[in-house]
Amino acid sequence: MTKPKRRLLLSLALLGLCLQGCTPLDYDGGVSRDLSYHDDFKILQLTDLHYCLGTDTDYLESYMDRLYAETAPDLVVLTGDLFMTANKAAVFSLLDYLESKEVDYAFTFGNHDFQGLYSPSWLCNVLSDPATYPHSLFVKNDSSARVEGRSNYVINLVEGEATKYQIYLFDTMAAGNGFFDLGYANLDESQVEWYKRMSDFSRGPEGPEDYIPSIFYFHVPIPAYQEAHDYEGPLKTYEGGYALESLSGSTDDQGLFEEAEKRNCLAMFCGHNHADTYTVTYQGVTLGFGVKTGPELYYGHVEKEDSPYGEGFDLMGASLLTLGDEEEISLTHYFLSRDMKTLYTEVHL
């Protein structure tokens, strides 16, 4: 073989390799799950449990038992910070509990989940092990998908052949990548591109004209929360809830909110701010905070004079989203007191 020919072959082989790296992602890239839908489908959001060494697991399990019993969910979404300075035993303890409820659960990471005596890959492997945890819908993100984060995936709520809703879970990452000041991470462009691909594909060339209605769950609030908080005008409707701490969130969503508006996102819910539980509808999209589950680390308390129930109460419990056939959603917050003696509900939508 002559030298130029060899060079040409080598170049083609290299080009082939490069192009292989650019192959567009398949529809789901292995990051979607289907779940059977029915009218009044209930999604229970638990968030910020902060399981750690000193956690009274018996108490927390009874606490969650009560929330499960009150809400009878079809799906449980855990929006991060389930663990903080935990160990493998704590992880197994929580997962065994969730599994025992025989309700499917989806999990996205918060900024504290990797702060434990285990590696991120270990946690992902455990969560995505169908033999041990068949009800876990967690999808381990394949590094070849080239999407930043480890817990970006979609749950399709399917009725017959049709996808009625899509539940998107986004990984808002563990921490920022500042040199000294780590701060909170911003969403990555690759995540927004991934969302666009997923929503485009699920609509499909012969699919419905409009985008499939979707709900987002993630941990750290995106900047739209701050914008909505600061905005005063006709584009915002306050739906209810409390703001007892200053909002701490990321500063750049790489255009996610804008894309979500265009692509029929009905609502997005986060965790992170334990003492904020308010819900607003801003520019047509509902933005809400989940109610912190359990007492670990800190939680908000509403004083008697600000309470509609005639006595003070803890901002602790869970939130329940109900999805209807005609793209209508309803949202109820459950405030279960620390001693589990009182339970108040607050309807937001």
Partner: protein, 305 residues
Amino acid sequence: MKKRGSLLIVEAVLYVFAAVGVFYFVYLLGNVIGSLTSYADWFQHFPYLLPLVLCSGLPVYLLFAFHAYRHSLTPKGAAHGAIANGLVGVVLAAFALIYAFVLLYNGTYEIGTNYPTAFFPIDVIVYLLLEEFAFLALYLLGVWTLRRPKFFEPLPTLTKGLRGLYGTLLGGAALLALYAFGGVLFSFGFGFSDENPAILISFYLLCLILTAGLFLYECDLVYGFKANSKKISFYSYLGLSVFVLVFFYAARYRDPMGFVEITMPFLVVDYMTSLALFPALADIFLIASNVCFGLKAFPRVREGA
């Protein structure tokens, strides 16, 4: 020389136990903060955690007490220090041990709860028993030294100014090095699999190079490196330090989020404060260690100055 060498080996063994202790101690502090809803909660958790805190903290005390014995200037000073520290340690370890048994008896500690390890609370009790014997041994070493002062071989003394400088710089470096070394030991159980290997290796190297520096410093004191060997060890350590720092920052620059993911299980304080404290402190102490080695390797530069 042989005795000094043997004592250095003993200190190296204690160093490993102390490293595990320091890392776990910081992890426990993180837990206390993590479960802190109110002061009432803290007091509720405190009895549960106290034996664990003592169990992880006492090996560090033992290491520093033994180090102080080795570095004492006179046999009498060494003996008195060892006796006092040995007694305090024996009392604290006994207290923690009895307390752990009480908590086990009243049901606060339950066998099979898997906290903090799968062997809990047997692991805590065995560790405390070992500490009890180790402090007893330190006490007996003090008594032995008092009776046979010739047993004690003082290490070469440094000038007063240098002693203070080295003590401060390397003492700080030692705490950080212990924490980092403990993290590396713990990390073998973390189950790393598909994390970025370049970041993992560079981070391990950064953790271990601090311990290597301390070991080199102690070897020089015990075995008395010749002038030429001092220079070689200085240049080797300097070269290794530069390599590790460049490797670490290059890997971090290439994959900043990978750095975050890998270091999260190690750097409890950093991610609670949202500040990359460990890399900054490691840089400072690495530079400090090199300055110390440089001053020892080139005494004439110091005299000229």
